[in-house]
Structure formats: structure tokens, C-alpha cells
């Protein structure tokens, strides 16, 4: 078929996808009129406040709520002594993305499993009364010895008995890594440590339960999956799904912390059902530190290369913290077997049990941690061999996934290296550490590669075309700041030849077509493809109806791909003079709209041959005042290959966010635990530093061209995680280049640079 060059009105629709459209919900967000979970009201709303355990391990000997209960305004106090009955079996408590083990049950019994565990729940007429009464609850504990040091507990590490669903265990070893390592002319064996990190989205976790009478609930929950929350409360409280509707229309960030339901959902729902009244519970910032975290991890990488810098052996071992009650797992070490060509690889992964809350996925879980070690190691080795760090990586480029012996759907990483290096000015780099200066400051240029798996999950969506040409697309998907609403509008607009502003997007509602939780960078690819498929189904129905019309201009053989919708008419794409008005087609069938649902799922056949990854090359400049030890990341250039970019504006923001969080991981973020008590010491935003305006200088994002027709039906690979993977290593590598000091323990704070330097001297 010859395609006519599109001109005039046709151009508008063509530009919808790939156009840097501003977020469609933007005007609501900037005026404070977009309501988040704790911002829904009702006249008789009760407010909750949670009392938290002040030991990390042990049991509650006595809990005295008398004074608290007498506090004016208090309606009821719940503890393990009087908690209403719930489902007994673990299976009822398992959410969609639950882990091997026993899900945490708030107020279940007298056991304390982690610091900050909820131990009592106060419900009162006002927030202030609930808060102040909670302070009057007196609890006596019998404390056990806490176990919170990953260095200590990793001595007793174990291979998880049950594998976490969706998390690939390490591949079996290939070649003979130990022998190759022993024989190599260049090699290193290094240990890497990551202290725990906390997600800290700006919005506090919150749930508003509106009691609608007769056991019917409308719930506004801070979650990355409204249907996951709905299933969770229905399971635990034995409610009928049709009586529980969960919304998460606006989510003030989550970064993985909202994948699994949190205790505020349970407590607020429990109280609303018990008291038959609406209940709101907004957690405190302190509580956010106990919900979940990026687990503390210790890793060892042994890496060897020949005289040409070709990798001859990689051995990567990681031990991550998990809780006493669940075996949380990440893909940490597998990246080391697939990012570069290497024929002798041994990867191992274990867990260490600690008295902590179960860790959870935090932006690029596993990869952010594992690739830090891998990319630090290859950098270190490049200096040994005497190669430029970028050259070292290019020499070890690989076009397949050696772990699984699969082809890649695409890998435009060479383009990332080239374009990133060029924009950064990498060729002006002086190789030797401590060789670059800016006035009194040491300057360091470092780089690293990033990788993340591009996944597609099952997703369903609905599209509706009305006679007036307006379009509605809907799916239960969430927009946690990712731009989901906007790209779905763009996909709908492109399919129906209208401007995005004529598309209504409905998401964040458990009643809408089924999607999985919003995470893993899969939403754009999955829900986006489902919306595109639903739109195609609508257009098929429309075309069929048009063909049925008397004197239809469409022949029997015309396919939906050969048609387009232009200016309210269904037309032949090659000749838009041939067509029928939508109103006439609908009228011919007595319809006011056409609506279809469609589902996408991973292609099992394709998965036997292909696997899909996104890639990035990060280039980082640091400036270090050596006298004060102050480290500033003054420039970042990140080049990303992630398939088709639906919206360069929101896409760029996803990468910026990943880079900023990566800088935090590299330099600032650290949950500090007092290992004598097992308690988190810095549970607030003053002492747990997340990057602030002053920390973030220039960041440039490049999207390299990458065509991929297999990663997802719409060619999208996803962007939520790739921005962070490798950033911490790039920063650490730049610090090494500036100072000659290699720090392998995150975060790289002033003291560590000093100590490492002293130790080296």
C-alpha cells in the first residue's frame, strides 16, 4: 500500500503520540484542586492515629489504654486485645504481589516483629484528639535481642526456600568462573555495602473510608493499585467486591512503597466497619520509615579481565535483609551476567533475617543495588587494565542475554554511549585520578551503564467513541506521577484522530477494567497497549457498521488499518474524500456511542526467544572541596534507550526523577539503625536527607532512537526505573576520578571519603 504524505488536518493527529503534551491534570495539580487520599471529607468523619512499638523485637506485656480512652473526643481504641475478627487464613491476607511467608497482620497478637510496628489504634472525633490520646497509651514490653545489622546477620544467610513470584533467581553458573578468575592477569575482589533506604514519597500514606451504609464502602487509598487494595480488604473482612470501591485517582508519589497495601488501609477499614462510620487515617512521616524500605545489602564482586580488557570472569554474591515473617527478594546479581559479554560467570543470592519490617520494591529494586556494585567493579578494573572506563565497557558489549541464552528485542546502548559522551564532552577527560581541577576544587568525571527489564503485564482497557467525536479511555491503572493519564489521552487521541483534550481518561478506580499494580515500569507498555487495542476494536466495530450501511463507500476488503478518523468522519487513509460521518454510522445502528474492551498479555511464544531491556549511559561530573570533603554533583548527562517515547516531556521527568533519587542513593540516603535497640534513629526528613534543590544542579536527558516491535504492541519499554540504575556507580566512579579514593559503601558521605583516603595513605 502506498502511503500518501499527510498534510493539513491529518498532521494534528499524527503528532499526538511523541508530542511533548503538558500533563492533562496539570491545572488541577498546580492549583491544589487534585484530591489525594486524605483529602476526601464527610460530615461525620472520624480520625485515627496509630501508636507504634518502641522496641524492635519482643512482646507486649501490658497495654494500658484507660487514660487514652478517657480523653475527650476519643471514640474507641483498638489493640490486639479487642481487635474485631478477621479472616484467619494467610491466603486471605495475601495481596496481589504478596511474598513467600506470612503477611503482616496489624494488631494480631502481642508479638513485636519490628520497630514502629502498629500496636494500638485510636479513633476520635478530631485528628488532634486521636493524636493526643495516643500519647497517653502506656505499654510495657518484654524486649528480645534485636537483629538489625546486615554485616552481622549476613553471616547466617540462606537461599530463600520459596521463590518470589516474578523474581528470577540467579541463573546457573556458566564456564568456570573460579578458574578463569585465578588465571587472569587483571582482577579485583571488592565488597559493597548499601545501608537501607526509605521511599519517602511526599504524600503521607493515608486512607479515607467513606461508610455508605449496609457494609458498603468507598475507599480513597494511597496505593499503586486500587484493585489490589480492594481485593485485600475484601479478603480480610470477607466483603463482597461489589460493595467495596477503591479510588486512587491522585497518588502523591510512591516509588514502589504503595505496591502492597499498608496498615493504614487495614486499620481505617476495620474501624469504619466496626463503628459504622467514615474513618480517615493519615500516617505520620515517622511511620513512613516503618512501612517498608530498600533492603540493606552486602555484596562481593570478583571480576577479571585479559590484557585487552575483555572480561574473563565475573562472580557476584549478594545478601539482602528481609523480615522475620516474609522472604522478600530482588533481582540483584543477575545483571552481572547479562550486561557485558563474559563466558565465566557465577552469581549467587541469599537473604538474612532481621527484626525489621519487610523490605519492599523501591525504584529499580535489585538493579539499583546490584548494578552499583557491577558498575563500580568494572570501573575499578578499567583503571587496572589502563583503559578509559567507557572504552572498557564498549569492548565488552554484548548483543544477547547470556544468562538465559535469549535474543534481545533491541539494545541501542551504543547510541547511548556515543551521544551521552559527546554531549558530556567525555573526550576532554584526563584519565588519571586527581588530574582535573576547577579552582581549588577537584573535578571528577565518571560514568556507568544502566539496565532494567522491560516488561509487559496483563492489562485490560476500555475505549468509547461517542457520536460527537469525544473519546473516553478507561482502565484501573494508576498515575503516581508517572504521566499515565497524559499518555493514555495521547494514545486515545491518536487512535481516533482527535486532540488529546477531547479524550477523557478514567483511571484510579477499582471498578474499571483490570490492570496490575503500577510498578516495574510496565504501565505505559501494558495499559497503553490495552487502550490502543480497545481503540482498534472500537474502530473495527465502527468500520463493520459503516460497511453495513446502504451505499457504503467501504468495500468488503477494507481493513481497519486502512481507515482513519478525521474531522468526525471515518475515512480511507489514502483518500479522506471517501468516508462517512460518525454520526451517520452510529445512527444507522441506533447507537449514541461504541465501546469496546480489549486485553493484552505477554506473548509466551515470543518469550521463548526474546527478552527485552531498557538501557542507559550516565555521565556524571562531581566537584569536591577536599578540605571540607563536600561533594557536589554538578552535571549529569543521561542517555536512555527505551523504545518509543510517547511523550518526551513527561518521559524526561521520569528520568530526571530517577537520576535525582540516584544522587540521593549515592550521597545522602541512609536509614540509620541503633543496633543495640534495633530502632531507626533518623525517622524524619531533617535527618534522613533526600536531595533538595541545592543538591541538584544540571541534568540533561537524551532519548536515543530505538525501534522495538516486540517489547510491547505500541513499541514502548517503560521509563520509571531506568533513570536510577547506575547513577550511584557513576557518582562513585566520578568521586574516584576526582580524588583517587574508591568508596564502596553507600551513601558516600564526607567521613567515608576522608577515611578511605586516610586508609590509602
Amino acid at each position: 500500500m502506498t502511503r500518501q504524505t499527510r498534510t493539513g488536518p491529518l498532521e494534528t493527529a499524527d503528532r499526538v503520540i511523541g508530542f511533548p503534551l503538558s500533563r492533562i491534570e496539570g491545572p488541577l495539580k498546580v492549583t491544589g484542586t487534585a484530591p489525594y487520599a486524605a483529602e476526601h471529607q464527610s460530615a461525620d468523619m472520624l480520625h485515627g492515629f496509630v501508636a507504634l512499638a518502641t522496641i524492635a523485637s519482643g512482646r507486649i506485656a501490658r497495654i494500658d489504654t484507660a487514660d487514652a480512652a478517657a480523653f475527650p473526643g476519643v471514640v474507641k481504641i483498638y489493640t490486639h486485645d479487642n481487635r474485631p475478627r478477621t479472616a484467619w487464613w494467610d491466603s486471605a491476607w495475601k495481596d496481589e504481589v504478596a511474598l513467600p511467608g506470612h503477611p503482616f497482620r496489624p494488631l494480631e497478637n502481642d508479638r513485636v516483629l519490628f520497630d514502629g510496628q502498629p500496636v494500638a489504634f485510636v479513633v476520635a472525633n478530631t485528628f488532634e484528639a486521636a493524636r493526643d490520646a495516643a500519647a497517653l497509651i502506656r505499654i510495657t514490653y518484654e524486649a528480645d535481642q534485636p537483629k538489625t545489622s546486615i554485616e552481622v546477620e549476613s553471616e547466617k544467610s540462606y537461599v530463600p526456600k520459596e521463590k518470589r513470584s516474578g523474581i528470577a533467581p540467579p541463573p546457573s553458573p556458566r564456564g568456570n568462573a573460579d578458574e578463569a578468575f585465578a588465571a587472569a592477569p587483571f582482577k579485583l575482589s571488592s565488597n559493597y555495602t548499601l545501608e537501607g533506604e526509605h521511599h519517602n514519597p511526599m504524600e503521607l500514606f493515608a486512607t479515607t473510608v467513606l461508610y455508605e451504609g449496609e457494609g458498603r464502602l468507598t475507599i480513597h487509598d494511597k496505593t499503586q493499585g486500587s484493585q489490589n487494595s480492594q481485593g485485600y480488604v475484601c479478603g480480610i473482612f470477607e466483603l463482597k467486591p461489589e460493595n467495596v470501591r477503591v479510588f486512587n485517582t491522585y497518588v502523591g508519589g510512591a516509588f514502589g512503597s504503595g505496591l502492597r497495601p499498608k496498615h493504614q488501609l487495614f486499620l481505617a477499614t476495620m474501624a469504619a466497619l466496626d463503628l459504622k462510620q467514615s474513618v480517615q487515617l493519615e500516617l505520620s512521616r515517622r511511620e513512613m520509615f516503618y512501612l517498608t524500605w530498600r533492603p540493606a545489602t552486602v555484596q562481593t564482586v570478583k571480576m577479571a579481565a585479559d590484557d585487552n580488557g575483555k572480561l574473563t570472569a565475573i562472580l557476584h554474591h549478594a545478601v539482602q535483609a528481609t523480615s522475620l515473617y516474609e522472604d522478600y527478594q530482588e533481582v540483584v546479581v543477575n545483571w552481572s551476567g547479562l550486561l557485558y559479554r563474559c563466558d565465566n560467570v557465577k552469581l549467587t543470592y541469599e537473604l538474612a533475617e532481621m527484626t525489621v519490617s519487610t523490605p519492599g520494591d523501591m525504584r529499580a529494586p535489585g538493579a539499583a543495588t546490584g548494578v552499583f556494585a557491577l558498575e563500580s567493579a568494572i570501573d575499578e578494573l578499567s583503571y587496572q587494565v589502563g583503559l578509559d572506563p567507557l572504552d572498557m565497557r564498549v569492548r565488552n558489549f554484548v548483543h544477547v542475554d547470556q544468562n538465559q541464552d535469549l535474543q534481545l528485542t533491541s539494545k541501542a546502548l551504543h547510541a547511548c554511549y556515543r551521544q551521552g559522551a559527546e554531549r558530556f564532552g567525555w573526550e576532554k577527560r584526563l584519565h588519571a585520578p586527581r588530574s582535573m581541577h576547577d579552582g581549588p576544587d577537584l573535578v571528577g568525571w565518571g560514568m556507568a551503564t544502566g539496565v532494567w527489564e522491560a516488561q509487559l503485564t496483563e492489562a485490560t482497557a476500555r475505549a468509547r467513541l461517542s457520536a460527537d467525536g469525544s473519546v473516553t479511555v478507561s482502565a484501573a491503572a494508576s498515575d503516581i506521577g508517572t504521566g499515565t493519564m497524559t499518555i493514555l489521552a495521547q494514545i486515545g487521541a491518536e487512535a481516533f484522530g482527535v486532540d488529546a483534550e477531547h479524550v477523557t481518561v478514567r483511571i484510579g478506580d477499582s471498578q474499571l477494567p483490570k490492570t496490575s499494580v503500577e510498578g516495574g515500569s510496565w504501565t505505559a507498555a501494558s495499559t497503553g497497549s490495552a487502550v490502543a487495542a480497545a481503540a482498534t476494536a472500537v474502530r473495527q466495530t465502527l468500520l463493520d457498521a459503516a460497511k453495513d450501511m446502504d451505499a457504503s463507500p467501504f468495500g468488503k476488503d477494507v481493513t481497519v488499518e486502512q481507515t482513519a478518523i478525521r474531522d468526525g468522519r471515518l475515512v480511507l487513509e489514502i483518500n479522506d474524500q471517501v468516508g462517512v460521518a460518525l454520526t451517520d454510522i452510529l445512527a444507522s445502528k441506533n447507537l449514541t456511542f461504541i465501546e469496546e474492551e480489549a486485553k493484552v498479555a505477554p506473548d509466551a511464544q515470543q518469550a521463548k526467544k526474546f527478552v527485552s531491556y531498557t538501557h542507559a549511559a550516565h555521565f556524571v561530573e562531581v566537584m569536591i572541596d577536599e578540605e571540607l570533603g563536600v561533594i557536589r554533583v554538578t552535571r549529569v548527562v543521561t542517555a536512555v534507550a527505551a523504545g518509543r517515547i510517547l511523550n518526551p516531556k513527561t518521559a524526561r521527568s521520569q528520568i530526571l526523577g530517577g537520576v535525582v533519587m540516584g544522587i540521593g542513593m549515592a550521597l545522602h540516603e541512609e536509614g540509620m539503625i541503633d543496633h543495640r535497640t534495633g530502632r531507626i534513629m533518623n525517622h524524619n526528613l531533617a535527618e534522613y536527607h533526600v536531595p533538595a534543590h541545592a543538591d541538584i544542579h544540571d541534568i540533561e536527558v537524551i532519548f536515543v532512537e530505538e525501534h522495538d516491535d516486540k517489547a510491547s504492541p505500541i513499541g514502548v519499554k517503560g521509563l520509571g526505573e531506568i533513570g536510577i540504575v547506575g547513577i550511584a556507580a557513576a557518582v562513585a566512579n566520578a568521586i574516584y576520578h576526582a580524588t583517587g579514593t574508591r568508596v564502596r559503601h553507600l551513601p558516600i558521605t564526607i567521613d567515608k571519603v576522608f577515611y578511605a583516603k586516610e586508609a590509602a595513605e
Partner: protein, 174 residues
């Protein structure tokens, strides 16, 4: 508005506040923060709670034109004050220049820190201390954005600052 009984046990104190141009007589318990008053009884939920400890800036509002963390102020201490929240700066159909610039520059993602960032930026512009991007970054550092929209926020503020100073220069010339 009588908020007395619901706020028991504490005696209430009469306070007059002008919020977004509307004068209101309130009876408030002494321990109610301006932030909780705004988000709760006044239903102005555009002002966000991110920490309740003066550590994040999400609750930034303008009190008599000066930016403050509303979680750190008891409402009763502000008798007679003029308070401007994000809702008072502009509406979806009539955006303030800063709000428009935030949309244009994608100076947010989840949007939760955004009202605080914008109120803080409005305060920053009227203070007149920031003259460079570096100073914007320094003087906006009380407003955290976990989504990491900082560079875009700086772009948005810089643009409005430049437009402001152009207007000032033009006005001075006229």
C-alpha cells in the same frame, strides 16, 4: 463558624483570619496548627502535609505575603493575619503565572509538593533576594520534591522571574 464543641476538651479562642481574601471569624482550640485548620475545617486541601515538622515545605503558604511552613504555626497565633494558599493564587481556569510555568515546564510529577513549591516561589519572588539560578536553588531548598522535579522547578521560577523583572524594567522606563 463555630468549631468549639468538636474541638473539646480545650477551651477555644476567637480568631479572625482572612483566608484567600475571605474574612473569617473562628473559634479554635489553641493546639490546632494553621495547616490542620486549612486542610480540615476550612477544606482547603491544596495545602499539603508532608511531615508536620517543618522539614519538607509541602505546607508552605503566604502569611501577610511572607512564606511560612503552616505546620509550624498555631492558627490562634495569627489573629488578624492575611493568609494566601495555593487556592488563592489561581484557579484551573485562571492560573497564576507561576502555576502556568509549572505546567509548561513539567515542574512536578505526582503534584504533592507542588502547591508548597509554588507558594514558596511566590514568596521568593516578592522577597527579591534571588537573582540567579543558583540563588533560586539555594532559597527554594526548604521545599523537598521526592519526584525530583528540581531542574524543571528552577526553569519555571527562572522564567517567571525573568518576565517579572522585564515588567519592572518596562514599568520603570514608562
Amino acid at each position: 463558624m463555630d468549631l468549639g464543641p468538636a474541638r473539646a476538651p480545650s477551651p477555644t479562642i476567637p480568631v479572625t483570619l482572612t483566608v484567600n481574601g475571605r474574612r473569617q471569624q473562628l473559634e479554635l482550640a489553641p493546639f490546632v496548627t494553621l495547616l490542620d485548620l486549612l486542610r480540615g475545617d476550612l477544606a482547603l486541601t491544596g495545602t499539603k502535609k508532608g511531615c508536620d515538622h517543618g522539614q519538607c515545605g509541602a505546607c508552605t503558604v503566604l502569611v501577610n505575603g511572607v512564606r511560612i511552613n503552616s505546620c509550624l504555626k498555631f492558627a490562634v497565633s495569627l489573629d488578624g493575619a492575611e493568609i494566601t494558599t495555593i487556592e488563592g493564587l489561581g484557579t484551573p481556569d485562571n492560573l497564576h503565572p507561576l502555576q502556568k510555568a509549572f505546567v509548561e515546564h513539567d515542574a512536578y510529577q505526582c503534584g504533592y509538593c507542588t502547591p508548597g513549591q509554588i507558594c514558596s516561589a511566590a514568596g521568593l519572588l516578592s522577597e527579591g533576594h534571588a537573582h540567579s539560578r543558583e540563588e533560586i536553588r539555594e532559597l527554594m531548598s526548604g521545599n523537598l520534591c521526592r519526584c525530583g522535579a528540581y531542574t524543571n522547578i528552577a526553569d519555571a521560577i527562572e522564567e517567571v522571574m525573568a518576565a517579572d523583572s522585564e515588567t519592572t524594567v518596562r514599568e520603570a522606563a514608562e
